[in-house]
Symmetry: C2
Subunit: 467 residues, 2 copies
């Protein structure tokens, strides 16, 4: 194995230089090999995930640039890491040694918005928030709302099947993708999906591309679905003395009415947010729960939720039917990560558990933090069982760093033990490579590798990422 790998390595090494030269001849200034520039394309926002040194950057301006890049990379065995804004949180867009970083950030046209079919056709580099704003001008709503929406792109959102706060009611990014156009490793263009909401002709290639983290093909065009703008949301914020009471209140609220948002923050996170913002939150509470309804009877739904929270011994409940006030109440949740980041360097986790196991997951996070002497602030999308335990540590202290990584492992392990997943919405990337075996069996991983080869026989697309 070692010998043949060495031979292959040599063969590719030789091909790389020639391949990059051909690429420069073909694409001119779109190809950048200046190491200073390349430095900016080594990582996404998963600072602690492994990354390599790229050989070149291609700033694709068109599908043709993508095709040309992939054809040459495929012929010369050069790995290709596709990225756009690089806001990923799992290292999915981190460079691989000697790779081409293929940036589609400049492919950022909103090709069209069709109010009749309620769809938008976009290039992959379009920023989520820009599409959402353009949709509103047509009285329409692009639902997927990852926290990064003002800086992340539709292409990246699709490649990671990004979540957000809307998912409880509206589903994940993939639920809003109608059709994709993508380029395979050999430069072949494929179409997947359909503008019609029902279409059962052939295998669902679209859903296979969604969340594939750049390992199967490069998305060059997406048709996404838009919805009518929902009614203004009503909002509730409640504080509880125990995480268990908070979780029981959530279950009881959900049983009464369909909610559009259920977020949660633990005591550590509430404390950090309060210290940063001076919002005068109840820092003695074990959990803060934020709930919204954008149903036609939202005010009534939130009034019901208020009664449920009181019945479940909430320490304090605040409700508002004013959307602007609701936005301000949600601000506390939005500040969760920035507030925790003020306490030190953070290791942001992303796990999901079946909703009934949420209290146990919170308790496990507290216990893991205590065992390692680390501050762990946990917040997240309670409605989806999706939590972001965030470990605060000191990277200059070797013991603290070691403890942080051990705690990170244990948090992921706890989620799996509770019947959950190693990643709810950020992806595997390089950050969670070592946990894939906890989530997927050997048979599933082998099958996924065979599927990858069906798309990318030479294994050039983001090799070693994802699964």
């Amino acid at each position: 194995m070692g010998q043949s790998e060495g031979q292959l390595g040599h063969q590719i090494e030789h091909g790389v230089d020639e391949g990059l030269e051909r690429l420069e001849r073909a694409l001119g200034r779109a190809v950048v090999r200046d190491p200073h520039v390349l430095t900016g394309f080594v990582r996404d926002q998963a600072a602690l995930a492994p990354a390599g040194v790229p050989a070149a950057l291609v700033r694709a301006r068109s599908e043709d640039d993508v095709i040309a890049t992939l054809r040459l990379a495929n012929a010369h065995g050069i790995p290709v890491v596709t990225r756009a804004a690089g806001t990923g949180l799992a290292g999915g867009a981190n460079a691989i040694d000697g790779c081409i970083v293929l940036s589609v950030a400049a492919m950022d046209r909103i090709v069209g918005i069709d109010p009749l079919t309620r769809t938008a056709e976009v290039e992959p580099g379009v920023i989520n928030g820009r599409l959402a704003a353009a949709a509103v001008e047509h009285g329409l709503f692009y639902a997927p709302d990852p926290a990064s929406r003002e800086i992340s792109t539709i292409g990246g959102n699709i490649a990671t099947n990004a979540g957000g706060s809307c998912c409880l009611k509206y589903g994940v990014t993939g639920d809003h993708v109608a059709a994709l156009r993508a380029v395979l490793a050999d430069g072949t263009v494929i179409r997947a999906g359909s503008i019609t909401t029902k279409d059962v002709a052939g295998l669902d290639l679209k859903r296979l591309l969604v969340g594939s983290e750049g390992t199967l093909a490069v998305i060059v065009r997406a048709t996404v679905r838009l919805l009518p703008v929902p009614p203004p949301a009503s909002t509730l914020v409640a504080f509880f003395s125990s995480v268990r009471e908070a979780a029981e209140a959530i279950v009881a609220m959900e049983a009464r009415a369909a909610l559009s948002l259920i977020e949660v923050m633990d005591r550590v996170t509430v404390g950090a947010v309060d210290a940063m913002t001076g919002m005068q939150l109840d820092t003695e509470a074990a959990a803060m729960v934020l709930v919204q309804s954008d149903a036609p009877n939202a005010a009534e739904v939130i009034a019901t939720c208020e009664r449920v929270c009181v019945d479940h011994h909430a320490r304090d409940v605040v409700c508002s039917d004013d959307p602007e006030e609701g936005r301000m109440l949600l601000q506390a949740r939005r500040m969760a990560l920035p507030a925790l980041e003020r306490l030190g360097t953070t290791l942001l986790d992303d796990i999901a558990v079946p909703k009934p196991r949420l209290p146990e997951m919170f308790e496990r996070a507290v216990a893991i933090g205590a065992r390692h002497g680390l501050v762990i602030g946990t917040f997240g999308h309670a409605g989806d069982g999706n939590l972001h335990p965030t470990i605060v540590f000191d990277p200059r202290d070797e013991a603290s760093t070691r403890a942080a990584h051990a705690a990170f492992d244990e948090l992921v392990r706890a989620a799996v033990e509770l019947g959950g997943t190693i990643t709810g919405e950020h992806g595997v990337g390089t950050l969670k490579q070592r946990y894939v075996g906890w989530a997927l069996g050997e048979a599933e991983r082998a099958l996924m590798q065979r599927i990858k080869r069906a798309f990318d026989p030479n294994g050039i697309l983001n090799p070693g990422k994802g699964y």
Copy 2:
């Protein structure tokens, strides 16, 4: 090619007998080779789709039976056609010459319903309506509602990604599948999907299995999502003098409020239903539109829809907030196919077009019927752009039969020309094999074949079906 195929054929022929004998030894009475019994397992409900003669039937009682069957079939190169109730409408479960028909109908346990996670775990042979009824006992709702729900199984619904009337609001079957357990051609068991609503670890094998028409693996267990039982629906029925006015009213209603059902029937269908039921429908109208809302403010929504219909020159509008009355109003739509079947032998089509193209699709169906001198009744799920033009013909008359098949081709072609699909919810099966090239390009089909080989290298699972 001819020679090597001949050789392969011989080799398989030889293997088949030995394989079937080994299967009988392994599974005993679960294996049936009596030709009289096999006759009942030649076809699903697509009477006119091509079908072959099976060599054996396996009545699987367990996952182990499925594994044993697939291992032997794979070793001996015997094609396997999986089926349960056989209610499919595209020949997807039709036998192939010399195949094993693998029936999972007896694997019909509801393993459990968990109100906390709002999921049900079922074997593939569970009838949809039985699961729906069991869910109601827990105050929960299994949304997918193909017209066949009282006779079709969850396994078949998943294998075809079955649609229904609920899809406008609730989505297709695949949107309600949390996780699957399936057996690959070589007997390997895989798990796909997750009980957590967010899970981005690895490729989406679950969505790939959904709608794969038995070509990738045999589903042996499904975990499906349940919802709280929605509020009682309010119903509207409206008649229009032109299909265009009906379509414009539908667009206008949808722009005002989220509806849970929008069905449509053309003049031919309304006439046939009226003749059968004596419901005193407006048989002069060009289109009958049925709308429901199960929103918390359903009565208000339907009142708004009534005003919209009047503004769009509806000839007549009937509304009801009484669920039982609503059920009776919907009865007309439920009788569409039986009523058309009384007029002669029918060829039931299943196409979908982008919603704005619905009026053109109706007009095309009328023109195609006129050109061929055939009665074509068109009805369907207008909210999804999914129509079932139903051709009435006389199978004893060769010219009529030829005309019916030509009209069927032209209906599918028209849908594709209008930006739609060759099949919205019934599947490709054998019925629509010849249209696959209209829906999928060469690159996509080649890719799907490579994906199939990743699951089923020997090509034993429902070969020649689907794509």
